[in-house]
């Protein structure tokens, strides 16, 4: 998901918990929301900061692959829709950094960790957007996969995170619909457009499946996060749900999911499908994806080039405050 492989630390065994920890777990089990001023275990706070931070970074870095096509959008309407969508993602970043701030970590600190590579963002944004059909595939598949995870997170235990998710989810369904609308135009368009649509699906299918993180059997941090209700479903559950919903949509488009083993399993009531190449996934996380270096360089450049701008604004704010203080003094 936007937060993949978030390391979680804490105790799941009640016997090992302190009385405070037990009381905290009881509140979570009773579906109470934890608010910023409430006591919380250190591990809960740290895990949440990692998860929300990773999610926020994904929104911000996620502007880049789609931003890549804004200046080439083929009609005025498509340009507006894409601009609005990418703008939403920046807004999502903002909500999430604010949610993280309530846990005692500033936006600047989180940025620094993103820029130094100490914090990650979703692997999906390290893949390039090569044709206009990718604007369709990203909205349809990437935002679609994000929705799978984010809808349940509206009920997550940490209040500010849950509320950020509510706002985000409202916008995500528009993102997915606009992506599917682009995909429809392409898939039902000229032979060249259809070829681009199929190629986009071929390239984005497995990376989208990777968004849910490794298989449950290899996912070591899930249990604790699920006990804390900061992870609501297992990776495999969500991945299955995504495949089940997406395959008929691909069929409607007349496109072929690039998986020869894909088959409806009557008994399970789900599709059987091939796992993505997890080695590729771990390589991308390590920094060896097709666009890791470029994405990070773009974010660092934006930050470094913007330093004078940020300093200018804060210097002005200081001067304005000093002027106000001086005039208050004179007025006395």
């Amino acid at each position: 998901m936007y937060a993949q492989m978030v390391k979680s630390e804490g105790k799941t065994d009640r016997a090992e918990m302190s009385p405070e920890e037990r009381a905290f777990q009881d509140r979570i089990d009773a579906n109470e929301k934890i608010e910023p001023k409430d006591w919380m275990p250190d591990g809960y706070r740290k895990t949440l900061i990692r998860q929300i931070g990773q999610h926020a970074h994904s929104e911000i870095v996620g502007q880049l692959p789609e931003g890549n096509w804004i200046t080439r959008a083929p009609t005025l309407e498509r340009k507006q829709i894409l601009l609005a969508k990418v703008q939403d993602e920046a807004g999502h970043g903002l909500y999430l950094y604010c949610a993280a701030e309530t846990l005692g970590v500033s936006r600047d600190e989180l940025f620094e960790k993103l820029h130094s590579g100490a914090m990650k963002y979703s692997s999906i944004f390290n893949y390039p957007t090569l044709t206009w059909a990718d604007m369709g595939a990203v909205g349809w598949l990437v935002d679609g996969a994000a929705i799978m995870n984010q809808v349940p997170l509206q009920r997550t235990s940490y209040g500010p995170y849950a509320r950020a998710m509510v706002r985000i989810c409202k916008e995500e369904s528009f993102h997915q619909r606009q992506g599917y609308a682009v995909m429809m135009r392409m898939a039902f368009g000229t032979p060249e457009q259809k070829e681009m649509a199929q190629d986009a699906l071929n390239r984005f299918w497995y990376p989208s499946l990777m968004m849910f993180g490794p298989s449950d059997k290899d996912s070591v941090h899930s249990a604790q996060s699920m006990a804390w209700r900061i992870k609501m479903n297992t990776n495999d559950e969500l991945r299955q749900k995504f495949v089940d919903e997406t395959v008929p949509q691909a069929e409607y488009l007349g496109l072929t999911v690039p998986d020869e083993t894909l088959k409806w399993n009557e008994e399970r009531g789900h599709y059987d499908f091939a796992e993505p190449d997890w080695e590729e996934f771990f390589e991308v996380l390590k920094g060896n994806g097709p666009c890791n270096d470029e994405r990070l360089a773009a974010r660092r450049k934006a930050w470094d080039d913007g330093e004078w701008f940020r300093e200018g604004l804060s210097a002005y704010a200081d001067k304005a405050a000093a002027r106000r203080a001086a005039s208050d003094l004179a007025a006395e």
Binding site: G67, Q80, Q87, R107, Q178, G189, F309
Partner: protein
């Protein structure tokens, strides 16, 4: 169809046709004698919005702070929305079956009518902010006057756009002031941006036969009438920003309005029009 609903309203076309039919009658739109000037003039306004919107949209994801990413996208969105309204009216006036998209995506540089200022590269945020301010200060006065145009169609679009542009001007003025009176570096960058852009700023006020024809028809104000207000806004903001108005002509670089552009426009169009040119007739 599977669980995903279609984002495009199936009856959007019908709705648009009904809205067009209900539109107020505007004798200017069908005035044959006025047509060439009116068309050209609408392209000027529409192209300014299109090209500036395009430039601003280049910042998407690369701005110095997240709030700027959002604000710049907002300005770009407004401008592209305005483009759609102006160029749609231009196409209607022209009456040759072209659409706003045809005008945006299928004209070559010599047919574009935007001023040179808006096609200049973004540079640093100083250049982007200053370019926006110099343009907004004009755009605001223009739209204020156009909202009272004798052409109801023009007045209607101007009134919509004015609300957005009033905000653009507020925002760009505020940034010019804060950055001009910020650190020594931000001051120097803003002054450098002003010095570089100044010779382009006046093109909008240089009236030609097209401007005079639409002014005579009561559609648009006489351009020289807008200048004193622009001068006042610029003087006030530069003063507060502790920036110095360059001691040099502001109408050195003209010709964009007549289709003689800088070298930059061709590259903008190469990028912007790529898909429409590479796949003629495809629908997107």
């Amino acid at each position: 169809m599977p669980s995903l609903p279609d984002a495009e309203m199936p009856d959007a076309l019908a709705l648009a046709e009904r809205a067009a039919a209900e539109q107020v009658h505007d004798p200017h739109v069908a005035d044959v004698d006025l047509k060439p000037a009116f068309f050209d003039w609408l392209c000027r306004i529409g192209d300014n919005a299109l090209i500036l919107g395009h430039r601003v949209s280049e910042w998407c994801g690369h701005a110095p702070v997240l709030e700027e990413d959002i604000a710049l996208a907002n300005v770009a969105l407004d401008l592209i929305g305005q483009t759609q309204m102006w160029l749609s009216l231009a196409a209607e006036v022209e009456d040759k079956g072209r659409t706003a998209d045809d005008l945006a995506y299928l004209r070559d540089a010599m047919k574009f009518r935007n001023i040179k200022l808006v096609e200049l590269p973004n540079g640093d945020m100083g250049v982007t902010v200053m370019r926006q301010f110099l343009f907004d200060a004009y755009h605001f006065e223009l739209l204020t006057a156009l909202a009272r145009s004798e052409s109801p169609r023009v007045a209607e679009i101007a009134a919509k756009a004015l609300k957005e542009v009033a905000y653009h001007l507020e925002r760009s003025s505020d940034l010019v002031i804060r950055l001009g009176d910020g650190t020594a570096e931000s001051h120097a960058r803003m002054q450098a941006a002003l010095d570089a852009l100044w010779p382009y700023a006046g093109e909008v006020f240089v009236a030609d036969a097209v401007d005079e024809a639409v002014a005579r028809a009561g559609i648009a104000p006489a351009l020289p009438d807008l200048l004193p207000k622009w001068e006042r806004t610029v003087a006030e903001v530069l003063d507060e920003a502790t920036l110095t108005r360059p001691d040099r002509r502001f109408d050195v670089h003209v010709g964009g309005k007549q289709g003689r552009h800088t070298e930059h426009l061709g590259y903008i169009l190469a990028e912007m029009q790529f898909l429409q040119r590479a796949y003629p007739g495809a629908e997107w």
